[in-house]
């Protein structure tokens, strides 16, 4: 009898390795043109950010180099600001700021959200769950712009007060979706089977349930990355953003006075870079989602 089921596998037993989820996803992704183009663009931005961070380029973003309000010239490709700073260098340097905000907020907020969401999802209906849900609801009630202002004042000049405020405001979204998924998963038989084999609760939560939510966490992380970058622009425009550095938001804020006077360089440089990065990243995460979805061919 047992030959009946073992037969089909014999051919597959040869050294040829079966495709894993990731190698399959990679193959699918490499066939997707939009995905590849957007991936290259995002990587280009990342490269710029790394070069800025390592100190190789755009270190003179704050120096007064030339006359103010010059149009694009050979030396200053995007022209200069009212103070005579190089807009090109400022726009390039801002890439680093954007990635700093996006990555920090996306990683920390999703990690906190996933951990909390998994725990309260498992203990749903208990006082712990009720209490944390109540805290999450309270956080969601506060407009995060107010929260940033409050935290900026509370931290008194900490350069990362905006980052911390965004993390505190954004983790609740991830926690909610992960909680919902865990709520669904914890009633599945493999969790009961794990109980029946004597697996302790903390291992069930973090080893059996949390890895099952990876797809949600990945998507959430990419959404948060974009949200954080856009929020940074808004907050910097309002004067609540980063301090002692340059960002696209600060550039747009500066440009608001210049545009009425007919100087568009600052504005176009900042919003153009922002637009390209956000669009490319959105397309990239869309393609990534498609590639990781086993139901799509």
């Amino acid at each position: 009898m047992s030959e009946v089921i073992s037969e089909p596998f014999i051919e597959l037993e040869k050294p040829q390795k079966r495709e894993s989820l990731w190698s399959k996803a990679l193959k699918k992704f490499s066939r997707n043109k939009t995905g590849m183009v957007s991936f290259v663009v995002v990587m280009l931005f990342l490269l710029i950010a790394v070069l800025v961070w390592s100190g190789a380029i755009a270190q003179n973003w704050d120096a007064l180099l030339a006359d103010g309000q010059m149009g694009p010239t050979e030396t200053y490709w995007f022209g200069t600001t009212i103070n005579g700073q190089d807009i090109f260098q400022r726009a390039i340097y801002s890439t680093k700021t954007a990635f700093e905000v996006g990555l920090m907020v996306a990683i920390f907020a999703t990690v906190i959200g996933a951990l909390v969401g998994a725990v309260i999802g498992y203990f749903s209906g208990t006082i712990l769950d009720e209490f944390i849900l109540w805290i999450m609801n309270s956080i969601d009630c506060i407009p995060y712009i107010l929260m940033v202002a409050a935290i900026a004042i509370a931290l008194d000049g900490n350069p990362y007060s905006m980052h911390i405020a965004m993390m505190l405001a954004f983790w609740t979204g991830t926690a909610r979706v992960v909680r919902g998924e865990v709520l669904k998963l914890k009633n599945m038989e493999f969790v009961e089977a794990a109980h029946a084999l004597g697996v302790p609760v903390y291992r069930i939560i973090f080893k059996h349930l949390l890895p099952n939510t990876t797809h949600i966490i990945l998507v959430d992380m990419s959404i948060l990355f974009i949200t954080a970058i856009k929020s940074e622009v808004i907050l910097s425009f309002l004067g609540l953003g980063i301090k002692d550095s340059i960002s696209w938001g600060i550039m747009i804020s500066e440009a608001s006075g210049e545009v009425t006077a007919g100087h568009f360089c600052n504005f176009f440089a900042a919003s153009g870079m922002l637009f390209v990065l956000v669009l490319a990243f959105n397309m990239f995460s869309d393609s990534l989602q498609d590639a990781l979805d086993p139901r799509k061919v």
Binding site: E13, F190, A193, A196, L197, G198, R203, K207, P211
Partner: protein, 333 residues
């Protein structure tokens, strides 16, 4: 082995007057009403009965996995190797589960974690109960997979559950449940979700493993065909009570309770040329919230008389064949 041998030995599991209540929004419901049974080392006990009669609740109670709330063990004792299980702390119970008592489930499709490799899941369980290194645990996992009849286990162990067929997955589940050498295996309808040919394979495999490893098995099922092939003793449950308990030969040859007889009559017989209309048991299972005070089967029983409705018969009988009926079949005529 004959019955005399079994009687001389100590039972490995003794369930005594186990009573389980469930709190529902319509009030308290008694899902199990004082069941008692014993399992001897190395034997297979089948618990049969229709849906909702309390088979699964009994096995979950033994595992200490009864969802609580709403479930609650209100009375009785469960002794495993002379040790009382009811009232054990969660931590102590965890050491019993998977190690001394193991369980396999109905749905092999969902009983394995889809995002973890077989190796991760098996090594995890082995290392939970044994102080051994990873490579040692992996070797043992591969041995176990080989034992349950999985071809090329060194390859298979590195795969994910979705790469295996249903029968394979159930074998992996069995391997996992047996990897720590339990003395007792609870199998809750282990073959229901598999198709018939695979069912036969898995059952044969289980019987073989049981003989090889010498463990006791409680097989929870509603499939009497499976019972006939693989069990030594049978307990028939109806509405939360055990109504008949006997060796498998006695149950099939001379059932004493009218319900057991009805169950056996409702199995289709294939070899006859002209298939008569399949027998059914008249009537409906009484509502758990509104149990009759007398025999619970009285309303559906063609032999019922006044005293059946007045008082409830107790499980009794000489030797190994016990029945809870005032008018056991065979003795009445």
């Amino acid at each position: 082995m004959n019955n005399l041998d079994i009687e001389k030995r100590e039972p490995i599991l003794t369930v005594d007057n186990l009573t389980v209540d469930f709190n529902t929004d319509k009030g308290r419901v008694r899902a199990i009403d004082g069941i008692s049974f014993e399992v001897m080392p190395g034997e297979t006990l089948a618990i049969v009965g229709e849906s909702g009669c309390g088979k699964s609740v009994s096995s979950l109670s033994i595992m200490g996995l009864l969802p609580s709330p709403p479930g609650k063990i209100v009375d009785g004792s469960i002794k495993f190797n002379k040790r009382e299980l009811i009232g054990l702390s969660e931590k102590e119970y965890r050491k019993v589960r998977g190690n001394e008592i193991s369980m396999i489930f109905q749905e092999p499709m969902t009983a394995l974690n889809p995002v973890l490799k077989i190796s991760t899941q098996m090594i995890d369980v082995i290392r939970l109960h044994n102080r051994i290194g990873k490579s040692e645990a992996k070797r043992r996992a591969i041995d176990m997979l080989e034992t349950v009849g999985i071809p090329s286990p060194e390859m298979r162990i590195n795969e994910y559950p979705h790469q295996l067929s249903g029968g394979m997955r159930q074998r992996v589940m069995i391997a996992m449940a047996l990897s720590c050498g339990p003395d007792l295996l609870l199998a809750d309808e282990p073959t229901t979700a598999l198709d018939v040919t695979i069912q036969a394979q898995v059952m044969t495999e289980m019987v073989r493993l049981q003989k090889k490893l010498g463990m006791a098995v409680i097989l929870v099922t509603h499939d009497l065909g499976v019972v006939a092939e693989s069990c030594q003793r049978v307990a028939v449950m109806y509405c939360g009570q055990i109504i008949e308990q006997a060796s498998v030969q006695d149950i099939f040859a001379s059932p004493k309770h009218p319900y057991t007889q009805g169950l056996l009559k409702s199995i289709p017989v294939v070899r006859e040329k002209k298939i008569p209309r399949l027998a059914t048991i008249e009537g409906m299972v009484p509502d758990l919230r509104d149990m009759p005070s007398g025999c619970r089967f009285a309303d559906r029983c063609q032999f019922a008389e006044a005293r059946c409705r007045a008082s409830s018969p107790q499980l009794s009988g000489a030797g190994t064949h016990q029945v809870a009926c005032f008018n056991p079949l065979g003795e009445m005529q």
